[in-house]
């Protein structure tokens, strides 16, 4: 090895490339890098299972704990006094060099006689497009696995080939896995599985001996055991996660099908040929503004050069003469080929292998980003294959130089140095760090090379000195993209606060649950609309102590733009409820003044019960947001118990389709491959029978009948259109009729379903689609009289089904008559209130508004008003499913008294009140609306229309007032043709404060009149082409209705006198002892593993119903027998982590002790 110092020097020099990447004060931050602004705080936060860096807190068992040895060195260097930039550069050099050194070790030990192979293989392994793509986010987890692959292969193969002892092989392997474990991210092990599987299979095939087979098992068992022991500190919590959340997370990602869809998208250009050329990186083809990919894709010289990779790699097979060479080369070619199959995923001709594994191998869906997870196995073997050929070529060249009496150094090193220089030049982005500027899209220029303003670091430092139980809301809110972007170029889905401080910050990022994001959006809206009562109620529920406004947020960007942060500062500065406490450059920190004591832990005797949305009770005078709140929707199984125990019951009925977001699902008419009469058709019937036997509840039975009736009609449609199996049409119609009759019989009885309104809507929608198909089929010439008769009978059945369904269906179809539904948990008399500022126009006269109950047809009207809440009287409720209609009289048709405008003159358009007749081509009229609300408000534009032609003629579109819409665009906005009057509506979310509603009468091409020589049929009613009537524009609103019942008259009181939070997983709480029922609320994200123990160590178990999700997000414990003066709240999953940590440390010490002991004994 000593003779190869110059090789090591060359590798180390190459490893210094990261030093060229960051000009000035720039450092790498943003995107998915996960690089912290404060590495020490970030590292320390990873030493507990629970973290409050994300929203109201979360469990970080999943993939975050294993990165200890990645974040540890970062923290260590900072602790030693290096600046963040120097620390980054040192570690980047380390990660750049490490793969090269490991590869050098492996290749040198395998082929010590080959002069150039180790150096060349190391260079290729250190620098390739697979790794370069990972470098743009400095993917240290990937680097850690990537780097040690050669060492793992060496120590495994050396043992299998009987070169080293079992003990040595597994101890080295185990220790490597301790320090370089891929950050505990299992998907990253994909490539490793391939390498080891191929290697074991290959060696066993070659040797075919029991001895080798035994060694394979012993080695595998040893490594697995040692891996588990040395990584127990993150594996045990990870297993806990897998058992509890993997299935849920997989389902959220769309299941195996979702994983396959993602893999198909990602692998769209990962063909074998591209991969052979060392390309095929998904980002190259999916990101049109990739910093360098277009050069490699389009430059002919670079294309030519890229083919050197496969030519050199596979030419090695022609050069391999020695048995050892062939033994290893065959192995590496096999690894290359198998990893290619998985890298290309569903894209390649052998994609069915990957698809099969995703669909049928449990857990394989974690490898959905297939290129990235398997790619390193390819580059490991490919580097060696290429290096093998180059070694031969370089040796020839060296011998040639030696013959010509060149200097010894030149004859040995000139060629490899030239190669390295050329190879680096080929990967030219690595010289400048250009790959870090990962998008050049105009208006969306993105880079990970960032100069962080000093005030951001100052803010982080100050924040880490504050009380860790304080929580802040970060403003402005994020738009639906979820991206966080600042003027100083930071761009990521990870908030800066999560990388900088240990404190709790809430913001509507994608790192918190969807339900929390909805609540936060409502909170932001309340603040912006200066609805301070609602905002402070929300703040109390979330235990928010302050607000951080970041004025440097890139709020004007068209893609991730949001509210101008200055709007927040304007509200906060002008309102006495908020006080500016600190300013850091463009970041301002405000405190909420009326919160004098932290609400993180409270205890109250006043337990509230809520059924419905939390936002509906915010600011309600009788509702105390600091008191515990059982939410029936979150804990349906314990509803009855808590409804009895609660002091107050709040019921907020749900407005069904008030936002008109429910659209009729269109049945996809497809052409079934297997038709009735086919010999394979029994398979279809068998599957349907199986589904039928599995349909044990009412809803699934209804779904079964809807599905089979859809299928029968689709089959008939295809039989008629393709003229296949037409003999079976009658039989199929009979079966259709039979199933429709069964469906009618089923729904004629009692509906045993939780949401019968939803099910009724589903039946209605699906059968309406079937009716459309029947209408088409009925007129087909191919049908005989009997077949038509069967269809006609089925049609009658559908009619009777729809009559039943109409009685069950309850959804808003007219925006002025809003339909509400209430699932009553407890009968009794309730006071009814409506929130005034949730009405369409909170300043308008509401006195004509009514609330009508469908059961007894009683109508309530406003009686009085208290703190913005309108009292509608009281009502005795007993029906489990209570239906009501709210008529909001503050809602006005915004175009009611408005005159239309005719941009092309009114010739050919006749107006009669709110009805229009149009007969002139390309003629339009419109309504312009000014001063409309655009901060999250939606409007519904509706009208009726009919055509007098067989073509689509009426154009309708919504634009902004000043927007210039070319005439040809009319063709894109033509509505469906209809001879009968048809109601049409569109929901609009205006981005500006004006809106224009446009109607046009068809589109006439420029040469139309010249060819026909006809004039428009003005003033001639027989020439009318379209009619439009009842045009209306309404603002949409879902008024908040509350049904309130006071069960117990209890004064609210906080029994918590003080608490301390010694670490992220423990709260020590001092209480005022009481015998009366009390509920403790700890405002961190609800998790079963949070446990309450009293001073006698008596704890409430994980599955006890008295531990509930308070307010839908925090932890509540209902203690019926009262409480003593001390209690402890702790996160029990931490115990698993600690157990794992003890196992890891003990194993490590035993190994190190054993090594030292062995060395000493030998001496």
């Amino acid at each position: 090895m000593k003779k190869r110092l110059i090789d090591i020097l060359l590798i180390s020099l190459l490893g210094c490339l990261p030093l060229l990447w960051f000009p000035g004060q720039t450092i790498l931050l943003g995107h998915d890098a996960g690089i912290p602004f404060d590495p020490i705080t970030h590292f320390l936060d990873r030493l507990t299972v629970w973290t409050q860096r994300f929203g109201t807190g979360s469990d970080q068992s999943f993939a975050l704990l294993g990165a200890t040895f990645i974040h540890g060195p970062e923290a260590l260097l900072m602790w030693l006094g290096f600046s963040i930039k120097v620390q980054q550069l040192l570690l980047f050099v380390f990660w750049f060099v490490l793969p090269g050194l490991c590869m050098y070790y492996f290749t040198y030990k395998t082929w010590p006689e080959k002069r150039y192979l180790p150096l060349v293989a190391s260079v290729i392994y250190m620098l390739n497009f697979y790794l370069l793509q990972a470098w743009f986010v400095a993917e240290r987890t990937k680097f850690s696995i990537y780097a040690i692959v050669p060492l793992l292969v060496y120590f495994a193969s050396a043992y299998l080939l009987n070169k080293i002892s079992w003990k040595k092989s597994i101890i080295v392997t185990g220790l490597l896995f301790l320090f370089f474990n891929g950050g505990g991210s299992l998907p990253l092990y994909g490539g490793l599985f391939i390498i080891f599987f191929i290697m074991f299979a290959y060696i066993n095939y070659i040797f075919r001996s029991k001895e080798v087979l035994k060694r394979t098992f012993i080695y595998s068992a040893g490594v697995i055991v040692l891996y588990f022991l040395l990584n127990a500190y993150w594996i045990l919590p990870y297993i806990n996660y897998l058992f509890n959340s993997f299935t849920k997370d997989l389902a959220a990602a769309g299941g195996p099908e979702g994983a396959l869809t993602w893999a198909r998208y990602l692998s769209s250009s990962s063909s074998f040929m591209n991969l052979f050329r060392g390309e095929g990186v998904p980002d190259w083809y999916l990101n049109a503004y990739h910093p360098y990919s277009q050069t490699y894709i389009n430059n002919n010289f670079l294309i030519l050069f890229s083919f050197a990779f496969p030519l050199l790699a596979f030419a090695s097979l022609l050069f391999a003469k020695e048995r050892k060479d062939r033994f290893y080369l065959y192995l590496f070619v096999l690894i290359t080929l198998v990893s290619l199959i998985f890298m290309s995923g569903p894209k390649s001709q052998l994609g069915f292998i990957y698809e099969f594994m995703v669909q049928h191998v449990p857990g394989f869906a974690i490898f959905r980003s297939n290129y990235y997870k398997f790619g390193y196995a390819f580059w490991f073997s490919y580097s060696i294959l290429i290096a093998f050929t180059l070694n031969i070529l370089f040796s020839y060249a060296s011998a040639w130089l030696t013959k010509r009496k060149a200097h010894a150094f030149i004859s040995i090193y000139l060629i490899p140095i030239l190669f390295i220089a050329g190879y680096v030049l080929y990967h030219y982005p690595v010289l400048t760090g250009k790959f870090l500027d990962y998008s050049s899209e105009p208006g969306k220029e993105l880079t990970n090379r960032i100069t962080v303003p000093q005030y951001v670091f100052d803010y982080g430092k100050w924040m880490n000195q504050q009380d860790s139980s304080k929580r802040y809301l970060v403003a402005p809110e994020l738009n639906d993209s979820g991206f966080i972007a600042y003027d100083w170029k930071y761009w990521s889905s990870a908030p800066v606060s999560s990388l900088q401080t240990k404190n709790s910050f809430v913001q509507n990022t994608y790192l918190i649950p969807q339900s929390d994001r909805v609540l936060l959006k409502q909170m932001y809206n309340a603040l912006l609309n200066e609805d301070i009562a609602t905002f402070t109620d929300f703040a109390k529920v979330f235990a928010i102590d302050g607000i951080v406004v970041q004025e440097d947020f890139a709020w004007q960007n068209p893609s991730w733009g949001t509210t101008d942060p200055k709007k927040y500062t304007a509200v906060l500065d002008s309102n006495p409820n908020f006080k500016l406490v600190k300013t850091f450059g463009k970041w301002k920190v405000y405190n909420i003044v009326n919160i004098d004591k932290s609400l993180r832990v409270t205890a109250s005797p006043k337990l509230n019960f809520l059924q419905g949305e939390l936002v509906n009770v915010m600011s309600f005078p009788d509702f105390d947001p600091t008191s515990p709140l059982f939410m029936a929707d979150k804990n349906p199984e314990n509803t009855n118990y808590f409804a009895q125990e609660a002091a107050n019951i709040y019921l907020t009925p749900k407005c069904i389709n008030c936002d008109f977001s429910q659209s009729t699902p269109l049945t996809q008419v497809y052409n079934p491959t297997i038709l009735p009469g086919s010999i394979l058709y029994p398979l279809v019937q068998r599957r349907e029978d199986k589904i039928k036997s599995q349909s044990i509840n009412f809803e699934s039975q209804v779904n079964y009948y809807l599905t089979v009736t859809d299928r029968r009609l689709t089959e008939t449609n295809w039989m008629i259109n393709s003229k296949q199996k037409v003999d079976y049409i009658q039989q199929t119609f009979d079966k259709y009729k039979e199933n429709i009759q069964s469906l009618r019989a089923l729904i004629s009885g009692k509906w045993d379903v939780a949401d019968e309104t939803q099910l009724a809507a589903t039946i209605d929608d699906r059968l309406s689609e079937q009716v459309k198909l029947i209408n088409v089929l009925y007129g087909h010439d191919l049908l005989n009289a009997d077949q038509r008769l069967s269809l006609a009978f089925a049609y009658d059945e559908i009619k009777s089904i729809q009559e039943i369904v109409e009685k069950k269906e309850w959804r808003t179809q007219d925006s002025t008559q809003k339909k509400y539904l209430l699932d009553l948990p407890k009968s009794g008399t309730y006071n009814i209130y409506v929130k005034r500022n949730s009405l369409t126009d909170s300043k308008a006269d509401y006195t004509g508004s009514t609330l009508t109950f469908a059961d007894d047809n009683t109508t309530l009207q406003p009686i009085s008003e208290n703190e913005e809440w309108i009292f509608f009287g009281e009502k005795n409720l007993s029906n489990k499913h209570t239906r009501m209609t709210f008529s909001d009289k503050t809602q006005k048709n915004l175009v009611e008294n408005m005159l239309p405008k005719y941009p092309d003159s009114s010739e050919g358009i006749r107006q009669n009140g709110n009805s229009f007749s149009l007969n002139a081509g390309s003629k339009c009229f419109n309504y312009s609306l000014d001063n409309i609300k655009n901060n999250g408000k939606t409007y519904i534009v509706s009208f009726d229309y009919r055509n007098f032609t067989e073509e689509k003629d009426l154009s309708f579109y919504v634009s902004n007032k000043e927007e210039v819409v070319p005439k040809l665009k009319i063709k894109e906005s033509l509505l469906d043709n209809t001879r009968l009057w048809k109601h049409h509506y569109q929901v609009v979310s205006p981005l500006q404060q004006d809106l224009r509603i446009n109607f046009c009468n068809n589109f006439d091409p420029l040469n139309y009149q010249k060819i026909n020589g006809q004039l428009d049929l003005d003033n001639n009613t027989s020439g009318t082409v379209n009619e439009v009537a009842n045009i209306a524009v309404y603002e949409l609103a879902s008024p908040y209705i509350i049904f309130h019942q006071k069960q117990k008259d209890i004064q609210n009181e906080n029994f918590v006198t003080s608490f301390e939070r010694p670490n992220a997983v423990t709260y020590n709480v001092k209480m005022k002892a009481t015998q009366q029922p009390v509920t403790v609320v700890m405002r961190e994200t609800y998790a079963k593993a949070w446990q309450l123990c009293d001073e006698n160590k008596k704890c409430i178990s994980e599955n006890d119903k008295n531990h509930f999700n308070s307010a839908g997000l925090t932890n509540g414990w209902y203690l019926k027998e009262g409480i003593g003066s001390n209690l402890t709240l702790s996160y029990t999953a931490e115990n698993t982590y600690k157990t794992g940590l003890v196992i890891t440390i003990t194993t490590f010490l035993i190994i190190v002790g054993g090594i030292i002991w062995t060395k000493l004994r030998r001496r």
């Binding site: 074998f272 591209n274 052979f276 294309i303 033994f327 096999l334 069915f352």
Partner: protein
């Protein structure tokens, strides 16, 4: 000129000898190819996805089996290297579909080379230890 003439005659003679000696096998393969192609139009076979893989896979494997004595394993790798050379202008032109197929053929040839080599050389490969 005579040398060239002789070479042409020799090469032509080799090819015609090959065809003469293997005519039944070649005819069989042509029929097999046509038959498998025809099958694709038949019910149930038309349900199979990626039929081209099955088609070329079956015919390719049978061809290799029949001519195993005539085709030297080394040719696999030489042909696959030639494919990479042919793919250069095709990539420059930008024909992704053709490139995709060439990549797959190269993949299959390399795989067959290695598998055949491992199979035939198994006994000797372990001797290096």
């Amino acid at each position: 000129m005579d040398k060239v003439k002789k070479k042409i005659i020799l090469q032509f003679g080799r090819a015609s000898t090959f065809f003469k000696n293997n005519l039944p096998q070649i005819v069989f393969l042509v029929f097999l190819f046509q038959f498998v192609l025809y099958l694709q139009t038949q019910p149930y076979f038309n349900l199979l996805g990626k039929y081209s893989i099955i088609l070329y896979g079956i015919v390719g494997l049978i061809t290799l089996f029949i001519f195993r004595k005539n085709i030297h394993t080394k040719y696999f790798i030489i042909i696959s290297l030639a494919i990479f050379v042919i793919a250069i202008p095709i990539t420059i032109i930008g024909s992704d579909t053709l490139n995709d197929i060439l990549g797959f053929i190269a993949f299959v040839l390399i795989a067959m080379y290695v598998l055949r080599k491992v199979y035939t050389e198994r006994k000797y490969l372990k001797d290096f230890i």
